[in-house]
């Protein structure tokens, strides 16, 4: 019951929110609805914590892995919602571009994400992931500017094509399952498939085909190079909180789907094939992204490429495998979402102050926006994988797993890429921070809601870098246990 409630509440809220034409009323309602949803998510998480697995009907199911990603989703959604109330002070009106549409679509987006996480069926999972694209496309094009429209179009087309591939992969898996004797009604049920996976070995060729299509398909959504091209466009031209949602939640959600598929594939035909593909795509993403970060001219595009880089790292962690690699990957996905949210929040302030996100037009940020600059530096340091922030721990874990697994070439590649990525990130950050501001603009005051949202991210990052609470560790272990 709680699962249904958690899932459907955002949908209901979305519909409800459309009724509010007044921006402030919409914001308040959204906050209330968000709070209620957080409570629901919390109770859901608590039940999961107690029972381990929750299942509802044929299509809803939540386990340890779900819990891990649900916590991530809940956290990011909360800060994004809080940040949005301040951020949306002056949005242009327009069709689908008013606060009520914003909140409604945000809750719709949440609904689709929840559907993806809570579905027990890989077909439903596919539908939900496709729905996330649809729900977020209008948010990406929210500003209705040239860039936003172009980005929205590319986002929609590319992700739909990618998702179509994933559908083909899902169908192939279904075929393999049916051939292996799984009843058709349950042939896409993840638990059933996991249980039956040893028997799927006979249809190995089909499983491989399925995984190839799924990794290319969901990989498009995750932002693997070379299917990543929509990602920088969409991130750059979406409103800042939506960029945060895309980068921190949507990518993780697609990664979650891939993880589920990967678990079945590797259980059935061994880890070799799927891990090789993950390593290839992850390595390619990591390398290409750090190089592309060097030539970026737009702050948000820079951050978007950094997301590709980090998703590459996550993929590498999964691909290296083993408890260490997997835990590192999950931890990294979590940490990355926090750091990226923090940084995207700062871009909102930067755009408000300088009127642009072009790096070469932003000068003297440290003097104009001291606090935002400090947060930007903290976020940059965190993103670069330096202590005392969480990404250091997760990158270190993945590196350890690489060395321990004797993936020396990969490890060297990662170390080199980290250095280049660090250089690229800080090359741009330092240029923005220093110098004389072009126009004498006054810094814009940070609202309490914005400061609070950013603080939560920062503190979480710091805590995960210094001291991982035992509860979090056990959650991580439960998540891993699901996949192994």
């Amino acid at each position: 019951m709680i699962l249904w409630l958690t899932l459907l509440f955002p949908l209901a809220s979305a519909i409800l929110l459309l009724a509010f034409r007044n921006a402030r009323a919409a914001a308040r309602t959204a906050l209330v609805a968000g709070a209620a949803e957080v409570v629901l998510l919390g109770s859901c998480a608590w039940k999961l914590h107690v029972y381990g697995v929750l299942a509802q009907g044929r299509y809803l199911r939540a386990d340890g892995l779900t819990l891990f990603f649900l916590i991530n989703l809940g956290l990011i959604f909360t800060v994004v919602l809080v940040y949005s109330t301040g951020y949306l002070r002056h949005v242009p009106g327009g069709r689908f571009s008013s606060p009520r549409w914003y909140y409604a679509l945000l809750f719709l987006f949440l609904f689709t994400l929840l559907a993806a996480y809570l579905s027990s069926n890989l077909g439903v999972l596919w539908i939900a992931i496709e729905a996330t694209t649809l729900a977020s496309a209008l948010l990406v094009g929210f500003y209705n500017t040239e860039g936003a429209v172009e980005a929205g179009w590319k986002y929609l087309i590319m992700c739909t094509v990618g998702i179509a591939f994933a559908l083909f992969g899902t169908i192939a898996l279904y075929l393999a399952a049916v051939r292996a004797g799984v009843p058709t009604s349950a042939a896409l049920d993840w638990t059933v498939l996991m249980a039956a996976s040893p028997g799927l070995n006979a249809a190995g060729a089909l499983l491989k085909l399925a995984f190839v299509f799924v990794i290319v398909g969901y990989g498009t959504k995750i932002g693997f190079v070379p299917m990543h091209s929509w990602l920088p466009d969409a991130h750059a031209d979406a409103p800042a909180p939506i960029s945060a949602m895309l980068s921190a939640v949507l990518l993780n959600c697609a990664m979650y789907a891939l993880l589920r598929m990967e678990a079945i594939t590797s259980h059935a035909i061994g880890t070799g094939f799927s891990h090789a593909l993950l390593l290839a795509f992850g390595g390619l993403s990591l390398i290409a992204a750090v190089f592309l970060m060097i030539v970026q001219r737009d702050l948000k595009r820079l951050l978007a490429y950094s997301s590709i880089e980090h998703m590459g790292i996550v993929a590498l962690g999964v691909g290296i495998g083993g408890p260490l690699g997997l835990s590192g990957a999950l931890l990294h996905a979590f940490n990355h979402s926090l750091a990226k949210t923090l940084l995207f929040f700062t871009t909102g302030k930067v755009r408000d102050t300088f009127g642009t996100l072009r790096i070469d037009r932003i000068r003297g940020m440290a003097s104009v926006l001291p606090y935002t600059s400090a947060i930007l530096i903290v976020g940059g340091v965190a993103l670069a994988g330096l202590p005392p922030f969480g990404l250091f721990i997760s990158e270190f874990t993945i590196l350890i797993s690489a060395f321990a697994g004797s993936h020396y070439v990969l490890a060297v590649l990662m170390l080199v890429a980290f250095s280049i990525g660090f250089g690229a990130l800080f090359f741009h950050l330092q240029r923005m921070l220093s110098g004389e501001p072009h126009a004498s603009r006054g810094g814009i005051k940070i609202l309490a809601s914005e400061a609070g949202a950013m603080c939560v991210c920062g503190v979480c990052l710091l805590v995960l870098g210094l001291y991982i609470p035992p509860a979090f560790t056990s959650m991580l272990h439960n998540a891993m246990a699901v996949l192994q």
């Binding site: 439903v124 539908i127 094009g141 860039g147 172009e150 279904y174 075929l175 051939r179 060729a205």
Partner: protein, 220 residues
């Protein structure tokens, strides 16, 4: 053997050929509207095929699916697309990167490729290789249309064709997915087309053209 059964068997046997023809014609088509109509025909063929299969296997669910396909793909989507195309008030030409002759040859090549690719699978899983090849060819052609056609609407059509191919593949290999999932997929497709329509209009409003190859502000 009754007439209906005979018709169903014939449909199943010959639909692949029809599909190949629609694909080739799409590649050669010079106008958007013709493409939309060809798409509708393609979907109609698929509908017939589902219906035939449903009849052969006596599956009520499959009939429902056939009806759904007919409603959504043969009627609703082409109608919407035609409407959009009319309302956009832009030149009807498809604006291609390749000449029609080249397109036809490329699509023919893709078909050959499709046959080559599916052959081992078809043999291994005892499937109808012709249908599977048709599905693959449609997927590939859909991709090709998306890559080579510059108009936004044509990309939508390419996407739909591609999706058709996947649907067909699912149909021939597994006799369709569970009904709920099938429904979800259709729903997604519909919303997707709706959204794409919105964006096509937005592109027209913002850029005063619908040439996606000129949407190159965001790069690097």
């Amino acid at each position: 053997m009754g007439l209906v059964e005979f018709a169903a068997a014939k449909t199943l046997a010959s639909s692949a050929v029809f599909l190949f023809i629609t694909v080739l014609l799409m590649a050669a088509a010079k106008r958007t509207n013709r493409c939309i109509k060809l798409f509708a025909i393609q979907c109609a063929v698929i509908t017939a095929q589902i219906a035939a299969l449903a009849f052969m296997r006596h599956s009520a669910e499959a009939f429902a699916v056939a009806a759904l396909v007919f409603l959504v793909k043969v009627i609703a989507i082409p109608y919407a697309l035609l409407r959009i195309s009319r309302q956009l008030k832009v030149t009807p030409a498809v604006v291609v990167s390749t000449t029609p002759v080249q397109s036809v040859f490329i699509v023919a090549g893709l078909m050959l490729l499709a046959f080559a690719v599916v052959q081992p699978y078809a043999r291994a899983f005892a499937l109808d290789s012709e249908m599977l090849a048709a599905a693959t060819a449609i997927i590939l052609t859909g991709g090709f249309l998306m890559i080579s056609r510059k108009k936004a609407l044509m990309q939508v059509i390419g996407l739909l064709v591609l999706e058709n191919g996947i649907f067909l593949a699912a149909l021939t290999t597994t006799f369709g997915m569970p009904f709920v999932i099938e429904m979800g997929i259709f729903f997604d497709l519909l919303v997707c087309v709706l959204l794409l329509g919105i964006f096509v209009f937005r592109i027209r409003e913002t850029f005063e053209h619908v040439d996606v190859s000129r949407l190159r502000r965001l790069k690097g």
